[in-house]
């Protein structure tokens, strides 16, 4: 094989091979390669990974009048129109369309469906939601577009995404090779979920975003193939969740705290819990405690600030009675003193922890927070310490993202440096805030002066 030192690494690669590589890129990134050289100027037109998103074309500034927006949207649709008219490939992997006014272009919409079907699309997605809709707001928006009848005849879909697009779930039986289904901005019921799951027997991933009016949520289906469930900001009449049958590998939830009942989730690898929708410090610690117990097998766990504030108010203030299997813990935290007991709780409950990532960012800090015991935030991490076993025995890598060097941040990080006996790596990602950044960097230098508990610890700043 020709391995000369010619500068152009792609020279000997054929166009079809380059097109395959381009198809691994997000669509707009593939488009950008048109300017690399003459050879590349048209290759992007053959990528099989099509993703047309009006938000690249329509700029929603406060000053932009509706007329301007309309013109920009017309420009967007005519770009898509041009693209598919000239498209030379016979098959496509993905067709995604995000457009907030589909009914302004009925003929084009029909063409997009025909095009996708004729190219034997595998992953199909429609997003008719509008970026101005707020995800946390309770006002729901009825879908303006309906999935055309002939689309249900198409049987080769592996992945389907429908946002703000209505559909007839009883016709889903045709999509029997579907593995991923993602629904959003639509009214759903517990029964409709049942129908969907029965219709799509090999479905592996179900993702619901901002769906409303569900009475509660349950999946009771023996021998289900479902491996991944994502519930994002959905609205339930009652927040109770029952899972019996599927052996999930991944479970992601964002919304209000509820009652979760999961039958034997021994296969679960990853869980992400985001309760930032909770607005007050209520008596829900026990519910979270019970949920955490059911996630006993999870290896990668992500929890939010609200979780950290609430968890010690449950059954036990210091940690779970039976420990977790977590190896990598992600804390989305403001590192506020309200979260200290919760952080200790999690460290105590994860005796096998190898990696800790702290994502520092704004959080819902409860003004009516009550700690399990009174404490002084200044000496919480240094006085009367009971050091968790993961800190002395297993924790090797700590990453801190969004570092500004506040006192609270330094307390927590110093704790890891001074007591982490087997620590190998501490990576601190400093926030880039223009001029103040140098101050953050200076504050970070303080950490280098500390006595390290582990000789092998390398501290790096990025």
């Amino acid at each position: 094989m020709d391995m000369d030192n010619n500068v152009d690494m792609f020279r000997t690669l054929s166009d079809p091979l380059l097109i395959i590589i381009l198809s691994f890129l997000p669509f707009h990134e593939a488009v950008r390669t048109c300017v690399l050289s003459k050879r590349w100027s048209h290759l992007w037109r053959e990528t099989t990974n099509l993703d047309f998103n009006e938000n690249f074309f329509v700029k929603r500034g406060a000053n932009e009048a509706e007329e301007v927006e309309k013109l920009q949207r017309n420009g967007f649709i005519s770009f898509v129109r041009q693209f598919i008219v000239n498209y030379p490939q016979k098959g496509i992997q993905r067709f995604n369309l995000a457009c907030s006014k589909p009914n302004d272009f009925p003929e084009d919409m029909q063409n997009f469906f025909s095009f996708s079907i004729s190219r034997n699309v595998r992953e199909f997605g429609l997003d008719f939601s509008c970026p101005t809709w707020r995800e946390h707001a309770l006002d729901n928006h009825d879908p303006v577009f309906e999935l055309p009848l002939h689309f249900y005849e198409y049987k080769n879909l592996k992945s389907l995404t429908l946002f703000s697009c209505s559909f007839d779930m009883h016709k889903f039986a045709n999509f029997n090779v579907l593995k991923r289904l993602s629904l959003g901005w639509i009214q759903l019921s517990v029964d409709s979920i049942k129908v969907l799951l029965k219709s799509c027997p090999i479905l592996e991933t179900l993702s619901l975003k901002k769906c409303w009016k569900m009475e509660h949520f349950e999946i009771c289906l023996p021998n289900s193939n479902l491996k991944e469930l994502v519930l994002e900001k959905c609205e339930f009449v009652q927040h109770w969740f029952l899972f019996d049958g599927p052996n999930f590998r991944v479970f992601k939830y964002s919304g209000k705290v509820g009652y979760f009942h999961m039958e034997n989730q021994s296969d679960m690898v990853e869980a992400d819990l985001d309760f930032s929708a909770e607005t007050e410090f209520g008596e829900v610690g026990t519910l979270l405690y019970d949920l955490l117990q059911e996630l006993y097998a999870v290896q990668v766990l992500t929890v939010c600030s609200v979780f950290l504030q609430l968890i010690p108010s449950g059954e036990e203030p210091f940690g779970l009675q039976s420990p977790l299997n977590v190896r990598h813990l992600n804390l989305k935290s403001a590192l506020h003193p309200n979260e200290y007991w919760g952080i200790k709780f999690m460290l105590k409950s994860c005796p096998l922890l190898e990696k800790l990532t702290i994502h520092i960012g704004p959080a819902n800090i409860f003004s009516d927070y009550e700690p399990p015991y009174d404490f002084n935030p200044r000496d919480f991490w240094s006085k009367y310490l009971i050091v968790e076993s993961c800190i002395t025995r297993t924790l090797k890598v700590v990453e801190v993202k969004g570092f500004k060097g506040t006192r609270n941040e330094l307390y927590v990080i110093a704790y890891m440096i001074q007591l982490g006996q087997v620590m190998e790596q501490l990576k601190i990602y400093i926030v880039n805030d223009g001029e103040i950044t140098t101050e953050y960097i200076q504050r970070a230098q303080v950490l280098l002066q500390l006595r390290k508990a582990s000789e092998n610890l390398r501290i790096s700043f990025c």
Binding site: M1, N6, L17, L25, E29, V31, R32, C34, L36, Q299
Partner: protein, 165 residues
């Protein structure tokens, strides 16, 4: 059909021979079809005419680990472990080798590794400035300044919000 205990010999373009478990070699579609074509013959040598020994070794290393990890983590966790290994695997490969590897893997029709290599190449394009991509891959810009400006203008939407690397 060969049982999984069997061995097969893969011959590189230089004529170097590699003895490989069938369980590993069967991930290369081209090897599989060659062997199926001469079923019954005792000769288990497959010539990979255009693939250099260096790449044969890399490909074998990848699939050996793939097979071992799959066996070891049958109960679950295979995908995570494979990702970890893939990361290490790619760290040892420079950009020239990446090109050689993508051609070799494409020729041998080995889907899992092909995806890994293509993703690795795509990573050097994604979120990078045009200048970075040209520099990294040694692409010579044969546009005039006017032509380039015109093309950029035509697809201006795609250039908004790039983090230059």
């Amino acid at each position: 059909m060969a049982s999984t205990d069997d061995k097969v010999i893969l011959k590189s373009s230089e004529g170097e021979c590699f003895e490989v478990d069938m369980a590993v070699a069967s991930h290369l579609q081209i090897v599989k079809s060659v062997l199926e074509d001469c079923e019954g013959s005792s000769d288990k040598v497959v010539s990979l005419f255009i693939v250099e020994a260096k790449y044969v070794a890399m490909i074998i290393e990848y699939y050996k680990n793939y097979v071992e990890l799959k066996e070891k983590h049958e109960e679950g966790g295979f995908e995570e472990k494979l990702k970890e290994f893939e990361k290490q695997f790619l760290e040892q490969i420079d950009k020239k080798e990446l090109k050689g590897l993508v051609m070799a893997v494409n020729y041998l029709n080995a889907p899992a590794l092909f995806d890994v290599v293509c993703t690795a190449i795509a990573k050097h394009i994604e979120n990078k400035s045009v200048e970075y991509v040209r520099e990294y891959f040694g692409i010579v810009n044969d546009f005039t300044a006017e032509e380039e400006a015109q093309i950029r203008e035509e697809h201006r939407w795609a250039y908004d919000g790039v983090n230059d690397d």
